[in-house]
C-alpha cells in the first residue's frame, strides 16, 4: 500500500456562492481523496488526504476546472501528516478570524434553472424564485460572512425535505446552493389580494398601468414599452422629463426587434451579470416616444430573475423597467410605500432585500454604471496598501471604495449625495462594506471640493489620516488601476467639473500622472461659467460665455445679454476649463439642446446627432498645451450659417476635438518622453469621441489606456482615490 499524504489548503478570492464547495467535493470524490471543505471568513479551507499522485492531480486541477463564476486569487498549501480521515464532506462554516472572503455578486438565472422554470413536469415549474449553486441572488441577500443560508435573508425559509435532500446531495446542482427553495418552502409572490399575482400584474400592464415589481436589488417600475401613453404617465409621476428609461426584452430575439444587436451587444446582453446595454435603436422599434426621447439609442436588458422570465413570457412584449424611485432618490428596496403615488399596483414577494442595488449599464464594452452583477466583487490594484483605505468618491454618481492589501472593494453605484435619502444609503452602505469585509479604514481619501458631501463625511471621521486627491488625478488613477498599471502616463481627463487646486473649475485636463502624484501640463482654454451651476443646467449659457457676439437664433435671447454681462464682469462666473461645457456650447449653438434635465444630456444628444461616416474635422489652435476650444465653435457656427447639415457639423466638431487632443498629446510626448495616454472622465463616455481619439493616438504611435470595468465618469473616482491613497501607503 502506498504511503498517504495530507495537505491543508486555503483558497482566497470569489469562492463563496459560486458552487465552489460542491465543485471541490466532486473533484475530491472523483480522485478518491478523503477530507473536507468549508467556508470561513477567509474564503474556503480544504483538507485532503490520499495517494501522492492523486493529491498532486487535485492541486493542479483545482484552479483549472473551477466554476466559471469563481475567481481564485490565492491558494495556500501546507503539508501535514495524514490523520486517516474517512470520505469527503462539506463541513459547517466557521466564523471569526480575519476576513478576506469576497462576497459574490448576484447572478442571472442559469440555463438549467430556466429549463426547469418552463418544464411542466419539473417540481419548480413556474416557480418565480428558482435558483441553484450557479445562479441567483447573492450580494443583495447577504447579511454577513461567511456566505451561507443562515447569514442571508433566506434564513427565514426553512428548507422542505425535497430541497434539503438536493442541498446535501453532492451530485446535485443545488448541493450547498444557499438560497435554494421551491414553492413548498420558499418565498411567495404577492399583488394585493390577487389570487394569481403574476396574471394580475400582466393584465394591469396590458391595461396601460404602472406596476412596481420587486426585483433583486429593489423595486422597478414597469409599463408596456409600446403602450401609447403609459410611459408618459410614468414620466409625469416620477418627475423625470427626459432621461431615457430602460427596456427589458424576453430574449435576444425580442431584443433584436428593438435594437441592432451586434456580436459585442449580444455578448453584453447575455452576460450573467445582466446589465442594461445601450444599443442603437431600430427605426421601427415598437417603443413609445416617451420611453427614450431625443436619442436613437435604447437601454435594453434581458430577464435576470425567474420572475422576470415568467413576466416577460406572459406579457409577450418588451416592458419598460426603471428604478423604483423619484428622480435622484435611491431605489426603494424594503417596501413600496414611497411609490404609492407612482405605481398603480405592486408585485412583490416576501424574500427581503438586504442591500439595495441598481441595474448596471454598459455601452460599447464600457461599464457606465457599475452596480448589480459587478458589486461587490473586488478589483485588484497594481499596488498593495500597507494600511486599510476608505475612498469616499465624488458627489454625483457616487461610489466609494474600501481597500485591504491589493483588493479594492468598489461599492455599487450610489448616486447623488446631495439627496438626503441617497446620502443615508451611502453611509449605510459604507458600514455594510466595512462589516462584510472586516475592514477598519486607517486612511481616508476624498475629493478636494470642500462642499462635496463625501468630503464632509471624510472630514468628520475620527482618528483617520485624510488624503485629499484632486478630482482629475483620481480619474487618471482609476484608469491606471483598472488597467493594472502605475504610470506615469499622459492623462487626458475630460469631464464636466472638478475642483482645481487653483480655485478654478477644471474639466479639460492634460496631466502627467502616476498613482502617487500628478502635474498639470495643459488644459482647455478657460471660459467663465456664467451663473455657476445654472450654466450647467442651461447649456445655452455656455454658448454665451464662449461666443458672446454670435449671430445665431439661439433661444433665451432675452437673457443672453445679462448672461454675457455676468461672464464679462465675473459675477458668479468662476473660470472653467471643462470639456463638458465645450460640448454644451456646441449643442446649444447647433440648437440641439439648450436646457438639460439630466446630467450630460446635451453632450449625449450631440453625439447622437453626429454622422459617424463624416471624417473631416475642424481645427483648433493651441498655445503651448492650452487647447482653444472656441476655434471649434467658431468653425461650427460658420458651417451652420452656411447651411451645412447638423449631422456633419456635429461629427466635424467631435473629429476636431479628437484631433486637437492627439496634437496636444504629441506635444506632451515631446516634453515628457511619455508615449502612453490614459483617457478618462465622463466626456469619454462619448463613444465617437473616444473612438476618434484612441484611433488617432494609436496611429500616432501611442499606447492608449481606456476604461472597461470601471466607469470613466465620477463612478470611477473612488477607485482612483483609493489607488492614490494605496500608492502613497505602500
Amino acid at each position: 500500500m502506498t504511503r498517504l499524504v495530507g495537505r491543508d489548503l486555503r483558497v482566497a478570492g470569489v469562492v463563496q456562492g459560486v458552487g465552489f464547495r460542491p465543485y471541490v467535493h466532486r473533484l475530491a470524490s472523483r480522485l478518491r481523496l478523503s477530507g473536507l471543505v468549508g467556508n470561513d471568513v477567509g474564503g474556503v479551507f480544504i483538507e485532503i488526504e490520499g495517494e501522492p499522485e492523486l493529491v498532486a492531480e487535485f492541486l493542479s486541477a483545482l484552479p483549472r476546472d473551477a466554476p466559471a463564476r469563481a475567481r481564485i486569487d490565492r491558494v495556500q498549501v501546507t503539508e501535514r501528516p495524514p490523520r486517516g480521515l474517512l470520505g469527503f464532506r462539506i463541513t459547517t462554516s466557521r466564523t471569526g478570524g480575519p476576513r478576506a472572503t469576497l462576497v459574490p455578486a448576484d447572478i442571472g438565472t442559469c440555463a438549467d434553472c430556466l429549463r426547469e422554470l418552463f418544464h411542466p413536469a419539473d417540481r419548480r415549474y413556474r416557480y418565480p424564485f428558482v435558483n441553484c449553486a450557479h445562479c441567483g441572488p447573492r450580494y443583495t441577500i447577504v447579511r454577513g460572512v461567511p456566505y451561507d443560508r443562515a447569514r442571508t435573508t433566506m434564513a427565514r425559509f426553512p428548507m422542505c425535505a425535497a430541497c434539503a435532500a438536493e442541498y446535501s446531495d453532492p451530485a446535485n446542482r443545488r448541493f450547498h446552493a444557499e438560497p435554494t427553495c421551491c414553492a413548498d418552502c420558499g418565498p411567495r409572490l404577492l399583488l394585493g389580494a390577487a389570487v394569481n399575482p403574476l396574471r394580475e400584474a400582466v393584465a394591469r400592464l396590458h391595461d396601460g398601468q404602472v406596476v412596481a415589481i420587486k426585483g433583486l436589488g429593489g423595486f422597478h417600475l414597469a409599463v408596456l414599452a409600446a403602450h401609447p401613453s403609459a410611459a408618459a404617465t410614468l414620466r409625469n409621476r416620477k418627475h423625470r422629463p427626459d432621461k431615457p428609461f430602460a427596456v427589458m426584452a424576453a430574449d435576444l430575439r425580442q431584443a433584436s426587434t428593438l435594437c441592432s444587436v451586434d456580436e459585442l451587444g449580444a455578448r453584453s446582453l447575455t452576460d450573467a451579470r445582466r446589465p442594461i446595454v445601450l444599443l442603437p435603436r431600430l427605426a421601427d422599434a415598437p417603443v413609445a416616444d416617451a420611453v427614450a426621447p431625443n436619442t436613437n439609442e435604447l437601454g435594453v436588458m434581458l430577464p435576470y430573475t425567474p420572475l422576470h422570465h415568467l413576466l416577460l413570457h406572459e406579457v409577450g412584449e418588451p416592458i419598460v423597467l426603471t428604478s423604483g424611485n423619484l428622480s435622484d432618490e435611491p431605489i426603494a428596496h424594503r417596501h413600496a410605500r414611497s411609490l404609492a403615488g407612482v405605481a398603480d399596483a405592486v408585485l412583490t414577494h416576501d424574500r427581503p432585500i438586504r442591500a439595495p442595488v441598481d441595474d448596471s449599464v454598459v455601452r460599447a464594452g464600457q461599464v457606465l454604471r457599475r452596480a448589480r452583477g459587478y458589486a461587490p466583487e473586488p478589483l485588484v490594484l497594481p499596488v498593495r496598501s500597507a494600511r486599510p483605505v476608505l475612498a469616499c468618491g465624488a458627489e454625483l454618481k457616487n461610489t466609494f471604495c474600501l481597500v485591504r492589501d491589493e483588493h479594492a472593494f468598489l461599492s455599487p453605484h450610489i448616486g447623488d449625495l446631495t439627496d438626503h435619502e441617497t446620502y443615508t444609503s451611502f453611509t449605510k452602505c459604507v458600514e455594510r462594506f466595512r462589516r462584510l469585509f472586516g475592514i477598519t479604514p486607517r486612511v481616508v481619501a476624498h475629493d478636494l471640493h470642500p462642499d462635496y458631501r463625501s468630503t464632509r463625511y471624510a472630514a468628520e471621521l475620527p482618528g483617520v489620516e485624510l488624503v485629499g486627491v484632486q478630482h482629475h488625478h483620481a480619474h487618471v488613477a482609476s484608469c491606471l488601476a483598472e488597467n493594472g498599471e502605475t504610470g506615469p502616463v499622459i492623462g487626458v481627463v475630460f469631464d464636466g467639473t472638478g475642483y482645481g487646486p487653483d480655485g478654478t473649475i477644471w474639466g479639460g485636463e492634460f496631466l502627467v500622472a502616476d498613482l502617487t502624484g500628478y502635474r498639470r501640463i495643459g488644459h482647455l482654454r478657460q471660459v467663465p461659467l456664467p451663473g455657476g451651476a445654472a450654466a450647467i443646467r442651461q447649456p445655452w449659457r455656455m454658448a454665451a460665455a464662449y461666443l458672446p457676439d454670435v449671430d445665431l437664433p439661439v433661444v433665451h435671447r432675452n437673457a443672453w445679454n445679462p448672461v454675457v454681462a455676468l461672464a464679462r464682469n465675473g459675477v458668479n462666473a468662476p473660470l472653467t476649463s471643462s470639456a463638458g461645457r465645450l460640448f454644451d456650447a456646441a449643442a446649444a449653438l447647433l440648437d440641439v439642446r439648450d436646457v438639460i434635465t439630466y446630467e450630460g444630456q446635451a453632450a449625449i444628444e450631440l453625439e447622437q446627432r453626429a454622422d459617424p461616416s463624416t471624417s473631416d474635422s475642424y481645427s483648433a489652435g493651441t498655445d503651448g498645451l492650452v487647447l482653444h476650444g472656441e476655434d471649434l465653435l467658431r468653425a461650427l457656427v460658420a458651417d451652420r450659417q452656411a447651411g451645412v447639415d447638423v449631422a456633419v457639423i456635429a461629427a466635424r466638431f467631435h473629429n476636431g476635438l479628437a484631433a486637437a487632443v492627439v496634437a496636444c498629446c504629441a506635444a506632451a510626448r515631446e516634453e515628457t518622453g511619455l508615449a502612453a495616454v490614459a483617457l478618462s472622465g465622463g466626456v469619454f463616455q462619448n463613444a465617437l469621441l473616444l473612438r476618434r481619439t484612441a484611433e488617432g493616438l494609436r496611429r500616432g504611435g501611442f499606447r492608449v489606456l481606456t476604461h472597461r470595468l470601471v466607469p470613466p465618469n465620477d463612478g470611477g473616482i473612488s477607485l482612483g482615490q483609493a489607488a492614490v491613497a494605496a500608492s502613497r501607503n505602500r
Binding site: L326, L396, T418, H420
Partner: protein, 330 residues
C-alpha cells in the same frame, strides 16, 4: 486669508481663532449680542462692521446697513436698542458729498429705530487701502422681557418662521455691482430696523425659542447654525419659503439660491408649534412681517443637518457652503 463669504470658512475662522483666544462664558454662545448683567439691569451689547460695494444701492446705503444691522442684532437678542457708537474708516478721496449722504441716512435710520448715536471715531486710510468707506457700529440695549432666548430651548416639533420674503438685499447688491443691464425697478434692499416687529412677536408669543437675523450667508446659514448649536434637524419646505417673484427671477439669472443670499431686514424665529399660528398673525399685522411664513419645522433627526423638501418630493441636504459656491455637478 480667504474667509469672508459668511459661510463655513468664516465660521471656522471664528471658532478656531477668536473663540479660542477670547474664550469666556459670555462669548461662548456666539449669539448676535452678548447679554450682560450690570446692577439689576440686563443689557445686551453687540458690534458689527460694514463693508459693502457699492456704498449706495437701491433701497439703502452703507449708513442704513450700519445702523439697522446693529439694531437688528440687539432686537433678535430680545433687547430694546438704546445707544449706538459709530466708527468710520474713510479712504482718501471719498467725495465729501458721499460722506454727507451716509451720515444723513445714519441719522434717519437711528431716528426711525429710536436709538441715539452717542459716540464715534474716524480714521482716514491712504487711497487704495479701502473701498471708500467702512463703518463700524456698536450698540447697547436693555432686555426687558422675562424669558430667556437660547439654542437650548429649541426642540423637535418647533415651527421655523421667516419674517418676510428673502433675498431682496443680496440680489439687489449683486445687480447693483454687476452692471448687468438687468431691468429691475422693483428690486430694492430689504434693509430695515426689526426691533418693533420683534417686540410685537415677543409680547404676543412667549413660546419664541430663538431669533436670528438672516444676514451674511442668508437663511440657509442661520438654519445650519440652529441645527448645529441645538443639535437638531431643521426640515424646510421649499415651496413655503417666501421669495418675491422679481427676486426669484433675478436669482435664477444670476445662478444664486435665495436661501443663501443676505437679507438686512428679515429674521428667522423658532417658535413653539402651538404658537406658530399666533406668531404668524402677529407678524403679518406689522408692515415688516406682512409676508411672514412658517417655512419648516425642527426634527430630532438627522441632528445637525438642514433638509430641504423640494416640490418633487425629494429631500436635499442644505449645507453651509465652505467658500464661494463652486458647482458640484460633474
Amino acid at each position: 486669508l480667504a474667509h469672508g463669504a459668511g459661510g463655513k470658512a468664516t465660521r471656522t475662522l471664528v471658532d478656531a481663532l477668536f473663540l479660542e483666544a477670547f474664550r469666556n462664558p459670555r462669548l461662548e454662545p456666539l449669539g448676535d449680542a452678548a447679554e450682560l448683567e450690570i446692577g439689576c439691569s440686563r443689557l445686551a451689547l453687540t458690534t458689527d462692521s460694514f463693508v459693502v460695494t457699492p456704498l449706495f444701492f437701491p433701497g439703502g446705503d452703507i449708513g442704513h446697513l450700519a445702523v439697522n444691522g446693529t439694531v437688528n442684532d440687539l432686537a433678535v437678542s430680545g433687547a430694546r436698542p438704546l445707544y449706538l457708537t459709530a466708527g468710520f474708516i474713510l479712504e482718501e478721496g471719498l467725495p465729501v458729498a458721499d460722506l454727507v449722504r451716509i451720515t444723513e441716512s445714519m441719522r434717519a435710520a437711528a431716528d426711525a429705530a429710536g436709538i441715539t448715536i452717542v459716540t464715534g471715531d474716524t480714521k482716514v486710510v491712504q487711497r487704495g487701502k479701502g473701498d471708500g468707506c467702512y463703518v463700524n457700529t456698536a450698540g447697547i440695549g436693555v432686555v426687558e422681557h422675562a424669558w430667556r432666548l437660547g439654542m437650548d430651548g429649541v426642540r423637535p416639533g418647533d415651527a421655523v418662521i421667516v419674517s418676510g420674503p428673502i433675498g431682496d438685499h443680496g440680489v439687489t447688491i449683486m445687480l447693483a455691482r454687476g452692471d448687468l443691464g438687468i431691468e429691475a425697478e422693483n428690486l430694492v434692499s430689504d434693509t430695515a430696523p426689526l426691533h418693533d416687529v420683534v417686540d410685537a412677536l415677543l409680547l404676543a408669543t412667549p413660546g419664541v425659542r430663538i431669533m436670528r437675523d438672516a444676514t451674511r450667508g442668508g437663511v440657509a446659514t442661520v438654519l445650519n447654525e440652529i441645527a448645529r448649536a441645538a443639535n437638531v434637524a431643521v426640515v424646510v419646505d421649499e415651496d413655503a419659503v417666501p421669495v418675491r417673484q422679481e427676486v426669484r427671477g433675478a436669482a435664477e439669472l444670476l445662478g444664486i439660491d435665495p436661501l443663501y443670499v443676505a437679507c438686512e431686514g428679515r429674521f428667522v424665529a423658532v417658535v413653539d408649534a402651538a404658537e406658530a399660528d399666533r406668531a404668524i398673525d402677529v407678524l403679518r399685522d406689522h408692515p415688516l412681517g406682512a409676508h411672514a411664513a412658517v417655512i419648516g419645522r425642527v426634527a430630532a433627526d438627522p441632528a445637525g443637518l438642514v433638509l430641504l423638501k423640494t416640490g418633487f418630493g425629494g429631500t436635499r441636504i442644505c449645507d453651509v457652503l465652505v467658500g464661494d459656491p463652486l458647482p458640484r455637478i460633474c
